[in-house]
Symmetry: C2
Subunit: 346 residues, 2 copies
């Protein structure tokens, strides 16, 4: 299998290296051949060649079986008036790969429930799969800017809504058969199109219970009854906000993986944390989000379910027994956490 890595900015290179080490260990143990091709993205690419993702890097990603990304962005490239920004590389990549469904699973590890800001006694029952639309909406709409005004357009076609919603229904079928669709249908036209599309598709899935929530209510419900959700599907921007909110419940953003999928098997995998410039280069970043993203890569792009489960089990052991990185209240560095996960994998 051919894997392109895009370490990116901040802690991206550190956590990506850890995930690659785990993939190499899996290859050795299960006798697979994985080859890795590292490419630049984000601020690192801007610094090296003036653009956040070169055409050649994009071609490399399109030819790969899977792409593993670290993180992009940082204060160095955040001037609101800058002509080019790290995030453009990531958005161009998502669009070019056609990965319209961003899967963000959320569970609260029993050993880490004390780190969650929530006191909900049912925290260990929290098991939500967010499905965020990733290649449409305000992220990809027409923008304008003049001296005294700016606009961003949110556009959705029925086709764009339908494919991600069908994916969410299929995923719900493999889980607790419950789907929550989030929109702002009392105000937005795109949300009304979203809602009526979900209502129409629901007829094809009579075995899945469907509920609609407004995004503002959902922001509240995630805190008051997180354990009552199974699959949550929503558009790009709402998904960005709600999944970060939900991620806080896990105790640390550093723990959570994501998989971005299109129609084929090829996928883009990234931890949901950002580039964390404040701790970059210190060897203290939590590699778990990136390593669990590699597990999702094994599962969804390479079809290696047993290997994916082995990685997840190894992570589980280390989250239970330690060593723990700083964000989890421990003092272990990235290397020590990685070493423990590799040992548990053996």
């Amino acid at each position: 299998a051919h894997i392109v890595t895009l370490p990116g900015d901040g802690v991206g290179p550190e956590v990506t290296a850890a995930a690659v080490a785990v993939l190499k260990a899996v290859a050795a143990r299960y006798e697979h051949v994985f080859d890795f091709d590292e490419q630049l993205i984000g601020g690192a690419a801007i610094d090296a060649c003036g653009e956040p993702l070169r055409a050649a890097s994009l071609v490399a990603c399109r030819c790969a079986d899977a792409v593993l990304l670290g993180a992009v962005g940082g204060p160095k490239w955040s001037d609101p008036n800058a002509p080019v920004r790290p995030e453009q590389g990531l958005l161009a990549l998502r669009a070019a790969l056609g990965v319209y469904a961003n899967l963000r699973p959320l569970q609260v590890h029993p050993a880490l429930a004390n780190l969650s800001p929530l006191k909900n006694e049912r925290l260990h029952d929290v098991d939500v799969l967010f499905v965020r639309e990733l290649t449409g909406g305000m992220y990809f709409g027409t923008r304008t800017r003049s001296d005294d005004a700016a606009t961003d357009e949110c556009k959705y076609t029925v086709t764009e809504i339908e494919r991600v919603v069908r994916r969410a229904f299929e995923l719900a079928r493999g889980r607790r058969r419950q789907l929550t669709s989030v929109d702002k249908a009392n105000v937005l036209e795109t949300s009304r199109l979203w809602r009526s599309t979900v209502q129409r598709i629901a007829a094809d899935y009579p075995d899945v219970r469907v509920e609609h929530q407004l995004v503002d209510s959902m922001a509240m419900l995630l805190l008051t009854r997180p354990a009552s959700y199974d699959v949550v599907v929503t558009e790009n921007l709402f998904g960005d906000i709600l999944t970060d909110e939900a991620a806080a419940l896990a105790g640390s953003l550093g723990l959570l993986p994501s998989a971005s999928l299109g129609d084929g098997r090829r996928g883009l995998y990234e931890p949901i944390h950002g580039s964390a410039p404040d701790i970059a280069g210190q060897g203290v970043a939590n590699p778990v989000g990136a390593i669990l993203s590699a597990a999702l890569l094994l599962r969804h792009s390479l079809g290696l379910e047993a290997e994916a489960e082995a990685v997840e089990a190894a992570v589980d052991t280390v989250l239970r027994d330690g060593p723990h990185s700083r964000d989890l209240g421990g003092s272990a560095g990235t290397a020590a956490v990685l070493a423990a996960i590799l040992a548990a994998l053996d």
Copy 2:
């Protein structure tokens, strides 16, 4: 003073009646003359006359010193394909009154900290004033809808951003001199205009500390360090989502008031909870959000600071000593809570 009331839908009429009773008690005790004019809005107006806010009602609001609103909306009027919706009345009202700054104060009452989903030990230190832009953005942009696609436009002018941001800076000056501006400047053009406008205006307020957060990070930070925010200013849609999320921290949405202000004194006051159709008409709704909105009305539109504080103190006493409504874990109905607040006011 001339006050228009718009009870609206669901529990709106019940909580508005309670707030009016408190205003009448204040008038009697402090020897003011308040007269009240009740008008229809939302689903109630659609049912009565086919439109969510009649022109005559809008004129009445524009001629009033202040407008007190209950809530609008409900399942009866929520079909995504309905030609007319309750929320249109509220949006038209906000626009017509020019109330561009929506103030949503958040504190966690010490007696109710156990109801908060957060276990943060500094919960009693939480004291945030959200300033949400209320008359621009996606709520008021051009929309299109065809059979196979829909669009919503988010537009902001510098003037729209500047006036609400200046209001937020002024409010920060009267508090802890700290302003957090929330945007999505790494993706949206309107957010980049927002951020550079905040940066420019900040030069006029060197005594206020300014920080910028991305909306996804902020959704997380509100949970992990809520006590570190003072004034938070953001655009309309982000404000809708973040203030509902933050409201969950208070233990019940039923507790929180809001004031929507423009350039003059006239304002629109509403509890931040919705129409709660599931408990409507049962006499069990918590009237505190509406009553505290009436206190904000006394303060901001009528300039009656002592009277506002008296109402807030009475509410405080009842939140401490009870009786408590169902959402607070008690069994008192709307009437019993109101009676206790009126007694505490005496």
